[in-house]
Structure formats: C-alpha cells, structure tokens
C-alpha cells in the first residue's frame, strides 16, 4: 500500500511538470498551428543554461531564472522571426522538418559546449525531503509541482481576461478575421513563441535540481511533451495538465508493478488507446 501511495505521489509530481512542458508547446500550437519538434531540445538548453550559470557564478537554478527567462524568450522571438515566419504557410512537413533541423542544431551545440557526459545542477533545497504520512517526496519536486499548477492557473487567467490573451485566442480561432480586427497576427505569434520558450526556461529551472541531464535526451522530452499535449486536446490547458498527470502516474506505476519493458511501453500504450477512443483528447478542446 505504501509503495502504491509512493508511486502515485511520485507520478503526480513528475506528471505536473510534464504538463508544464506541454503548456508551452500547446500555447505555440494554438496560435501558429506549429508543432515544435525542437521543444525538448530547447528545454535541454534551458537546463544547460542553469548549469552554466551555476558553474560560473554558483547561482542557484531558481535564482538564475532572472537571466535564463529573458534569454530564452529572446531566442524564441528570434527563431520565430528569422526561421519559422519565412516558411509559414508551406507544407506542414516542411515546417516540422525545419524544427527538426533546429533540434539537431541545439542538441549538438550543447554537445560541443558541454561535452557528452551526464551533468547535474544542485540546488540548496535539493536534499530536503518532505514527509506526507507514509510518503516521502523530494523538496524540488514539490516546488516544481506547486509552481506548475500556479503557472497553469496564471496562464488560464491571462488567456481569459487580458488583451494579450484575447488576441491569442482570436488568432487561434481565425487568423484572417483577427487581422481584420486590427490584431498584428505576426507579432502575436512571435510573442507567443517567445512566451512558449519562456515557459520552458521556467520548467527547466524547476526540474533541473537533481535531474541528470545529457545533450541527447531532447527528443525524448519532445515525444513525451507531444503525447501529453495531444492527450490534453492540443489547446485545452486544463486537459493538458490532466494529461501530464495521467502520463506521469502511468509511467511511475508501470515501472514499479510491471517489468521494465512494459513500464516503458505504458505511456505509449495509454496514448494509443486514448487517441483511438477519444481522438479529441481527454477534455474537449477549449
């Protein structure tokens, strides 16, 4: 019983960060219909930026966010403006291939600068444990989980009731009509892309304490993020957080109760089954 509770707690905490990763991707998808296959590699980049700042100035990951957040947003705006915007409107595959080229670029850029060994970035809260009855969880996971839900809620409010949010939703619904209403569609898309990468910078700072990182892990993060986003109904932020929890918990339960192989298969199996039975995602798209 304790084992089950422990797995559930672990899966819940990890799943909430999957949700946060997918929120950034969903935000970008909702306004530009673009599936960013470099998402996981940009997430890696965020983690390595934290690592670099820690190595150079001994900055705690949570503090280094002051630098990594604007840096990642600038990168995002640049990538959208100079690489993605020029080929927007061409075949869906072309745009996907471009982001795959970008993934190669980022992944191997990291490899060139930091080398191919596993790295860890510590934080002052890293070794603190939290006891919840019989369940033991690590402090960074709790912080990441709380922050993920906080950010998801903030994003929800932002999209509901600010002008920026209304602009995003109008571009999502009908880009042409939005342009006719005087919304600068290109600018909204650029800002959203920047915001998507900014979310990744936050996610990186939250996840990096104690997480081993390697340049080649980017594609794996991308695939998990994609699965979570699609399960959540692409643009439904409540659905995306829920899907993150489903995937996180199924992964945790799978590795404990089933063989290693079945545990690894679990998220994919669940994904295929849910996609076939509920193609619109767990919740209906907003």
């Amino acid at each position: 019983m304790d084992e089950l509770l422990q797995a559930l707690a672990q899966g819940f905490l990890v799943g909430s960060t999957y949700g946060l990763l997918a929120l950034g991707m969903g935000l970008i998808y909702s306004v530009s219909g673009l599936v960013n296959f470099a998402h996981g590699d940009f997430f890696s980049l965020g983690m390595y930026l934290c690592f670099a700042l820690f190595s150079a100035f001994a900055l705690d990951p949570y503090v280094s966010l002051v630098i990594t957040l604007p840096a990642m947003m600038l990168i995002g705006a640049g990538v959208y403006q100079f690489l993605i915007r020029p080929i927007a409107g061409h075949h869906l595959l072309m745009v996907i291939q471009l982001t795959l080229g970008l993934a190669l670029l980022v992944q191997n850029g990291i490899l060139m600068v930091f080398g191919g060994q596993f790295e860890r970035t510590p934080s002052i809260v890293e070794s603190k444990l939290v006891l919840l009855g019989p369940v033991v969880v690590r402090m960074p996971h709790v912080i990441a989980c709380l922050a993920s839900f906080g950010i998801a809620a903030a994003l929800y409010v932002l999209l509901r009731s600010t002008d920026w949010g209304r602009a995003i939703r109008s571009v999502h619904q009908n880009a042409k009509a939005a342009a006719l209403m005087g919304i600068d569609v290109g600018r909204v898309r650029m800002l959203t892309f920047a915001a998507g990468l900014g979310l990744l910078a936050i996610a990186a700072a939250l996840i990096v304490p104690g997480t081993p990182m390697h340049p080649s892990l980017g594609l794996r993060y991308t695939v998990i993020t994609l699965i979570v986003m699609v399960l959540g109904g692409m643009t439904n932020f409540v659905g995306i957080m829920l899907a993150g929890l489903v995937i996180g918990i199924s992964e945790a339960l799978g590795t404990i109760y089933l063989s290693d192989m079945l545990g690894m298969l679990m998220p994919y199996l669940i994904f295929v089954v849910i996609m076939l039975l509920r193609p619109q995602g767990l919740l209906k798209a907003a």
Binding site: H91, M94, L100, Q107, N108, G116, P279
Partner: protein, 340 residues
Amino acid sequence: MKSEFFTVLRSPVFWGAIILLALGPFVLPSYYLHIATLTLIYIALASSWNIVGGIGGQISLAHSLFVGTGAVLSSALLLKLGINMWLGMVIAALVSGLMGAIISFIDFRFRLGHLSFALITLAFAEMGEIIVIGTEALGGASGLFLPKDKGDLLAFQFGSGAGIFWVMLTLAVGAILINLAVLNLPLGFYLRTIRDNEAAAQAIGVNILRNKTIAMVISAMFTSVIGTAYARYLTFVDPYQLASPVLTVEIVLIATVGGLGKAFGPALGAVLLIPLGEILRGKLGGSLPGLHYFVYGAVVIAVILATPRGLLPALQSRLASWRGSAKSEAKKPSIAAPGA
C-alpha cells in the same frame, strides 16, 4: 499520362546513368564506395516512404518499424532458428505488410487526422524499438551479429563491396520505378485525390481504405526488404540504429527536402544529404563531438529556407522559367512558375 512510366523505361539517359553507376565499384576507393552504397540505401528507403508520405500524403512515422522488422526479424530467424535469410526476408516482408495493413485499418476505422496519424505511428515505432531492445530472442539491446559475408548468393551473401553495392543499386532503381508506376497507375491518381481532398475523393467513389492500404502495404514490404539488405550490409544489426524512430525522421527529412510526391524527389534529397552527412562526419567528426551534426542541421535549415517546396520542384520551376524566358523573348513575357 500513362506514358511517363514508359518514357523513363525507354529513356537511354535513365539506363545510361544506371550503367554508369553500376561501374562505380571498379573506380571508387572503398571509402567513397561506402558513401555511394549508403546513398543508394537511403534513396531506396526515402522513395519507398514517398509512396505513403508523398504521393498518399499520410505522414507515417512508423517506417522504422518496417526497416527494423526486415533487419532484426530476418537476422534473428537466421541466427536462432537457422532459417535461410532469403526466406527470412520474405517472412519479414509479409509481417511488415501485415503491420502496414493494420496501421491503415486503424487509420481508417478511427478517422485519424494528419497529426494524430503521425503521432500514433510514432508511438508504434517507439514501442517497436522498446520491444526489440527488451526481447532477448530478437537480440535485445546488444544487437545481432550476422556471419561474415563470403559471397554465397544462396545464403543471402553478396560479397563485400561491389556485390552489395549492386544489390542496393537494384533496390534504389526498383523503388524509383515503383514510384513512377504508382504515379501513373489509377492507384496514384486515387492516392493524390485522397491526399488533396479526402471528402471529395470519397464523394466521387474513390475507395479510401483500399487505396491507402495498398499503398501502405507496398511501401512497408519494400521497406522491409531494404531493411534486410541493409542488415546484411552492416553485418552488425543494432536495434538503436535500425529500429529507432530517429531512422524514420532521417528518411522523412530526405524525402521532404528532396520533393514530396515526386518520383525522383526523395532520390535527389538522398544524393544531397547522405554524402554531405558522411563527408562532414569524416572531416569534422574527429575534431569536436557534435560539430558535424551541427553543420548538418544548419545546412538542412538553410536548404528548407531556400526551397520551402522541396529541391526538385524548385529546380523544375527554375528550369521551366529559364526555358520559358528563352522561348518567350520573341513572343510574350515569360510566365514564371509561382514562387520562382
């Protein structure tokens, strides 16, 4: 329209180029012969994928499953059960065809959109790799070693160097000819109709399930055969290479950059990207890890930005506008192809 297939079949340029290529092993040093062989493999793989992904417009990311089946299953049958690799090749091709048919059926039954189809096939491919790595009978994570190639044709051995090069040349030419044939058969017209507007295709009586399934099965079986030959060429059957979704990503990249849906597009993409990747690896691979892939990624982005509709269509429209302007100097202003 039907004549395009026969025009190419009768064209002396086509056969001349093949004969010229077939002489390659006699003049190329072994390093360049390796690059040439690899290029032919990827021409074959990308062209086979093109039947589903380009002509049919279905972004299948499951093709590593078929390469993996062709490579791993036939090798495992040979090593664990002593089944001749020719028979193993046929068995693997049948299994791949069956998997292709099942994927098509799922696609049809559940009416998947483009993105869902891509992601579900990607999930299948990920699961395939995990299963191969976790199953000892299929070689597990450590892979399988085929016996040394002694040139015994009956045992699926073609001799190193020239022999396997000719096999790959045959497969590459075969894949391109299948593309041409499909494009000029009713199947190709149905597929393009479905790609361009599925609802309209259905309304005028095109059998969607049947045509998509035929395309997928052809593509899957041929990809599986290439997989078996690829395993024979590599001798070491590494699941992380041959059953990995990364392989599919490479195949799709080549086909897309070259020109989707064109018979010679994927071949052009392979001819550009594979030698580029290999030469970069040779020149830069030793100096700084990651540098050659970094440059490769940069070139891919540059090519996509320069020719967003694919290399072959861009070349064709450039050629057409050049011809057009040469002709029209006397008559009327040139009609450039859109986007040229």
